[in-house]
């Protein structure tokens, strides 16, 4: 029912969310620290969250069938 091209977006979105979540999950076991002394977890958590957000956006775009 869905356009094949948009299916790619849906799947891509899911993939990104999965990758982001995996990294996010692992990152939480690292120290986060403060801004002046960022721990090993600070940056990865930030990027992983951003990735998940984008993954969701791409998924939604694919779902609602907007053109590229």
């Amino acid at each position: 029912m869905y356009n094949y091209r948009l299916m790619k977006d849906i799947l891509a979105g899911i993939l990104f969310v999965i990758i982001g979540s995996v990294f996010l999950f692992i990152s939480t076991s690292y120290k986060i620290g403060t801004t002046a002394a960022m721990g090993p977890g600070y940056f990865p958590i930030l990027i992983a969250i951003l990735l998940i957000i984008f993954g969701v956006v791409i998924f939604i775009k694919g779902f609602y069938g907007h053109s590229k």
């Binding site: 790619k8 977006d9 799947l11 891509a12 993939l15 990104f16 990758i19 982001g20 990294f23 692992i26 990152s27 690292y30 120290k31 403060t34 801004t35 002046a36 002394a37 960022m38 721990g39 090993p40 940056f43 990865p44 990027i47 992983a48 951003l50 990735l51 984008f54 993954g55 956006v57 791409i58 775009k61 590229k68």
Partner: protein
């Protein structure tokens, strides 16, 4: 004019029979090794190093090593264009449009343009080195953590433009790349991240493995799954060389690429790499036909190829004038000089003028030799594409596996190819571009390292990125690009 005298002197040194001979051997061997995926300048220099110690004259030795170094840049673009596999990081960008050109039957043209742009850049870079070696070298000192951080931010943003599909997917790919780049030891805390206990990953995922897996093998897996009769890359062999139009289109990008490469090559941290990526992003932004990028735009080959060659050559400047090696390969060359009793630094030009000027002159000679070598070889390279895919693809797989093994003489590296090949296949099916990922990979870890370092030095003050002039400049440029990017998307013209 003093410079002119020096240059003439340099040529007299470089044109001795021994030096010419070793220059030739160096560039040839460099090209050969550069063609092999995974083996780039670092591998080439390391492998051929023992030979250098048998050469008694240090000038000859460094001419040989330098030849290997930029020789590999030429070789690396060959595999990038023909097989869509970047032999080393700086060839990654060439795969985007270079390979597309090959698929459209313009393989010969792409190879020729790459060679000629590289030669052009090599020539100009040689002049730049001759004129500006000492003052230019000092610019490396201007870059502290904040400046680098801002530069990386700009680079990451530019990386998004490497995507010729959806912008959103491009950004997401950059993030994936960054996360993959964070795998390994964290320099600031010593904590090992995301390795899942695998010791071989303690130092991160080797770039070559990532690239070969995502690009080369992923591509092949994709093709194997979607076998169709017309899978063969069709090439019209009548047009081995570029048309006049293509030549014209490559001139300005080559010029800009040379300029970018010459500047970025001075910075520690892979000048040739950053140069090629930066050049691509710039060309795409400036182009009157940006939609061509990713489908075989000549500028997408000419610019980056010029940039990486210029970057490779100018990276000798900080090493010679200040004794600062900007990349591991240059560090090895530096070590060789030190072993032979030459201490690079502010006095090297005065104490060893034959070395300095001889090297500069030989760089030009070497580039010329490479041009002569590569252009006729274009026919040979292109005919490789004629080989039936049934034979070619297994060969490519074999080459990738072998290259992966020889990288560090470890089987685990070879095994690591598999998940990335799978990932590469998946990405290809979902229309996600690996090039943006690679950029994120290369820059991500550096970005984090520098931002953290800047914040440690400033004791947590984020304003440091805005108070330092160079850093501020980069951030302003990034914002401008961001705004321009958003606005141009709003008004997407109907094409």
């Amino acid at each position: 004019m003093d410079i002119l005298n020096n240059i003439i002197f340099g040529f007299s040194v470089a044109a001795s029979v021994t030096n010419l001979l070793w220059c030739f051997i160096g560039v040839t061997m460099g090209t050969l090794i550069g063609v092999l995926p995974a083996l780039g300048p670092l591998a080439a220099v390391s492998i051929l190093l023992p030979i250098v110690f048998n050469i008694s004259d240090p000038v000859t030795g460094i001419i040989f090593l330098a030849g290997i170094f930029y020789g590999t840049q030429y070789g690396g673009s060959t595999t990038a264009i023909l097989l869509n596999i970047p032999g080393e990081i700086s060839s990654t960008v060439t795969t985007i449009d270079g390979n597309q050109m090959a698929r459209k039957g313009r393989a010969g043209a792409a190879l020729s343009i790459a060679a000629m742009s590289s030669f052009f850049a090599g020539t100009v870079a040689t002049i730049i080195i001759a004129l500006l070696a000492q003052p230019l070298a000092k610019t490396a000192y201007l870059f502290g953590a904040a400046e680098y951080g801002a530069l990386m931010l700009l680079g990451l943003f530019a990386a998004v433009t490497l995507n010729h599909g959806s912008m959103l997917k491009g950004i997401a790919m950059v993030f994936v790349g960054i996360l993959l780049g964070l795998v390994g030891s964290d320099i600031n805390s010593g904590v090992v991240r995301f390795t899942l206990g695998i010791q071989q990953l303690t130092d991160g995922i080797p770039f070559a493995i990532l690239a070969m897996g995502l690009f080369g093998l992923g591509e092949i897996v994709y093709l194997l799954f979607h076998l169709r009769e017309n899978n063969k890359i069709t090439t019209t062999f009548s047009d081995l060389y570029p048309t006049k139009k293509e030549m014209k289109e490559s001139l300005m990008p080559a010029l800009r690429g040379t300029f970018l490469g010459s500047i970025l090559g001075l910075l520690p941290g892979g000048g040739a790499i950053m140069s090629s990526f930066a050049s691509y992003a710039v060309e795409k932004k400036i182009s009157k036909k940006p939609e061509e990028f990713g489908r075989g735009a000549v500028a997408g080959v000419a610019g980056p190829e010029a940039a990486n060659n210029a970057g490779a050559q100018t990276s000798f400047i900080p090493m010679l004038s200040l004794g600062i090696p900007t990349t591991p390969t240059i560090a090895i060359i530096l070590a060789v000089l030190i072993i032979q009793g030459i201490q690079p630094g502010t006095t090297v030009i005065a104490k060893h003028p034959d070395l300095f000027w001889g090297l500069i002159a030989s760089m030009w000679i070497g580039n010329f030799m490479l041009l002569l070598l590569n252009l006729p070889l274009v026919g040979l390279w292109v005919s490789i594409l004629k080989i039936s895919w049934k034979i070619l693809y297994p060969i490519i797989i074999l080459i990738c596996l072998t290259g992966a093994y020889y990288l560090n003489r470890s089987w685990s590296d070879v095994l690591l190819l598999l998940p990335f090949a799978l990932l590469g296949y998946v990405f290809k099916r979902l229309d996600c571009q690996p090039a943006s990922l690679i950029m994120g990979f290369v820059l991500g870890a550096l970005f984090e390292e520098n931002v953290r370092r800047a914040l440690i030095i400033s004791r947590g003050d984020w304003l440091v990125f805005l108070t330092k002039p160079i850093s501020l400049a980069f951030i302003v440029v990034t914002c401008v690009l961001l705004i321009v990017g958003v606005f141009s998307r709003r008004q997407k013209p109907q094409r």
